[in-house]
């Protein structure tokens, strides 16, 4: 199992601990608050992922170890929590694995069924951008 798949399993296990929507959202909001600081100079139009109701900024760099490191942020806290979840899974992985990753864990954690259409469109756009970076920085 790839690192990414393993982390997905982790996240799924974690979410299973929260039976109610409130607990799930509480956790996501917490994740949002913990997300590491986003470099101010990168908070610009070209880093915005379109397709989300709230704004999402995403940047990526290939570090010396050959792995890809993402920075992301959002002006909405729930989105920020989702972003944080994504980064936990994808951060510091090789581009090839990012591109190859299977994303159906989102359904599995029973979050997506609670998510609005706009939200899941936004997530899809985010994943697409993450994979694009993965591909470009391979």
């Amino acid at each position: 199992m790839s690192h990414i798949a393993a982390r997905q399993e982790e996240v799924i296990a974690e979410f299973q601990m929260f039976p109610t929507w409130m607990e799930k959202y509480e956790y996501i909001i917490e994740l949002g608050k913990e997300l590491e600081g986003f470099p101010e100079q990168e908070r610009k139009e070209e880093n915005i992922i379109s397709g989300c109701q709230s704004k999402v900024w995403l940047t990526a760099e290939k570090r010396e170890n050959g792995l890809i490191h993402f920075h992301a942020d959002s002006d909405a806290i729930i989105t920020k929590g989702m972003v944080s979840l994504m980064l936990r899974i994808f951060n510091d992985q090789p581009g090839s694995e990012i591109v190859a990753a299977d994303m159906n864990f989102l359904t599995t954690i029973g979050l997506l069924e609670n998510l609005s259409q706009t939200r899941s469109n936004g997530l899809a756009a985010m994943i697409k951008q993450i994979k694009t970076y993965g591909f470009l920085l391979q």
Binding site: E30, I77, N114
Partner: protein
């Protein structure tokens, strides 16, 4: 009967309201986006398709006659409902947006020229901005904008924005962003004094108070059926008869012609002139039924319940002070836009949705307003005649729970 019983009675007629959403009872407060439909409207659609669906006007058979009759009776019902002088002044469109586009193409594109001015207000819906921008691009006319006070009303000196260059005023009667009711009667008078024509966007007005277009004396007025308890895909353009007949054609094709030949084609008078192609017969019949149903409820009661809803909401806004409530003007409909500098309206909306409370968040198609106010939008709870006290109680509870979650 008590108000409570009356509402309970009305709610019974709306099948959609009686359902659980994510385990909670649905609280539908997105009525400015679209209203729900009473059983009578739904049944009118089924019986149209089950009993007398046929193409109209060209009719040479029994079903076609029934369908044509029903369609034209709807036109009569609408004429009566909005207080128009002639039945020919009622044009069926796809909706408010389509109606405004019709006037933009069939009148403004050919009647305006360089330097002419079109006047709108800052709070207009995109549907009442973008078509005029297109007209300006093609004709060289200029789009002028009435600014707003912080409470969402037009600035005190709004009359000074009308001048000799003003050829068209196009304004929303009620703002879908703030619920504010604008002084349209005065505006019609001012526009006409300046020799300008005036179009009224009544999308958010039509279900709240009587329009009385002949008395109002506006040149055009538009609204959508789906915001008046009627079906989707159908709307109304009212226009003064002489003006309609003097306008260019817009969509062309079958039904709107007198005679087609390759040498030259002649057109019908209004309303047919503007109704090219097979009409949305079912939508027209459903809208007619919606208007009959709505008229049966009656303005008196509609006014009463709206005043009551505003009363209920006073306690909500007083309790939930953590939020900023905008558009608290004296003359408003039961529509509440709110926001917080601490959290995003999208977060609020998502958490309310988890609790079964349906509101709308975002820019509500009035981006210039939010840009001017340096905001990214709001959350908006908008009421219709079936929203009861319990809905406001649930809204308040869910707001408080959401805020608790967000501030953690």
């Amino acid at each position: 009967m008590s108000l409570d019983q009356d509402i309970a009675h009305i709610r019974k007629e709306f099948p959609i309201l009686h359902q659980k959403v994510r385990g909670a009872s649905l609280v539908y407060l997105d009525n400015a986006a679209t209203t729900q439909k009473p059983q009578a409207v739904i049944a009118s659609i089924s019986s149209y398709y089950e009993q007398y669906n046929a193409n109209v006007h060209r009719g040479a058979h029994y079903l076609a006659n029934l369908a044509t009759d029903a369609m034209e009776k709807s036109r009569d019902a609408i004429q009566h409902f909005i207080g128009a002088t002639h039945r020919e002044e009622i044009i069926f469109t796809q909706g408010t947006t389509d109606g405004i586009n019709l006037v933009a193409h069939a009148w403004a594109m050919t009647h305006l020229k360089i330097g002419d001015e079109i006047l709108v207000a800052l709070s207009e819906h995109h549907a009442n901005i973008v078509p005029w921008q297109q007209v300006c691009k093609k004709t060289g006319a200029i789009l002028k904008v009435i600014p707003l006070n912080p409470d969402g009303t037009w600035v005190a000196d709004w009359k000074t924005y009308i001048n000799a260059q003003t050829k068209l005023v196009s304004v929303g009667w009620v703002s879908n962003a703030t619920g504010v009711v604008h002084p349209i009667h005065e505006m019609v008078e001012q526009a006409h004094n300046a020799g300008a024509k005036i179009l009224v966007d009544a999308a958010q007005a039509v279900s709240h108070f009587p329009l009385q277009v002949a008395q109002l004396n506006c040149d055009w007025l538009v609204f959508s059926g789906h915001k008046l308890f009627g079906p989707t895909g159908i709307g109304v353009l009212f226009g003064k008869l002489d003006l309609l007949n003097a306008m260019e054609v817009y969509r062309t094709g079958g039904e709107m012609i007198k005679k087609v030949s390759f040498e030259g084609t002649t057109f019908q008078e209004a309303p047919l002139k503007f109704e090219a192609g097979t009409p949305h017969i079912q939508g027209i019949i459903g809208l007619g039924e919606a208007i009959r149903w709505f008229s049966n409820v009656g303005w008196e009661w509609i006014h009463k319940i709206e005043m009551q809803q505003i009363e209920w909401m006073k306690s909500v806004t007083a309790e939930v002070k953590a939020l900023h409530w905008i558009g608290e003007s004296e003359r408003k409909t039961a529509l509440y836009s709110f926001w917080s500098p601490q959290f995003h309206h999208a977060d609020l909306g998502e958490l309310l949705d988890q609790q079964g409370v349906a509101i709308r968040t975002g820019h509500h198609c009035t981006q210039p307003l939010w840009d001017a106010w340096n905001m990214s939008g709001t959350a908006r709870a908008s009421f219709a005649l079936y929203n009861n006290e319990e809905d406001t109680v649930q809204l308040q509870k869910s707001l408080i729970k959401s805020i608790q979650l967000l501030i953690g």
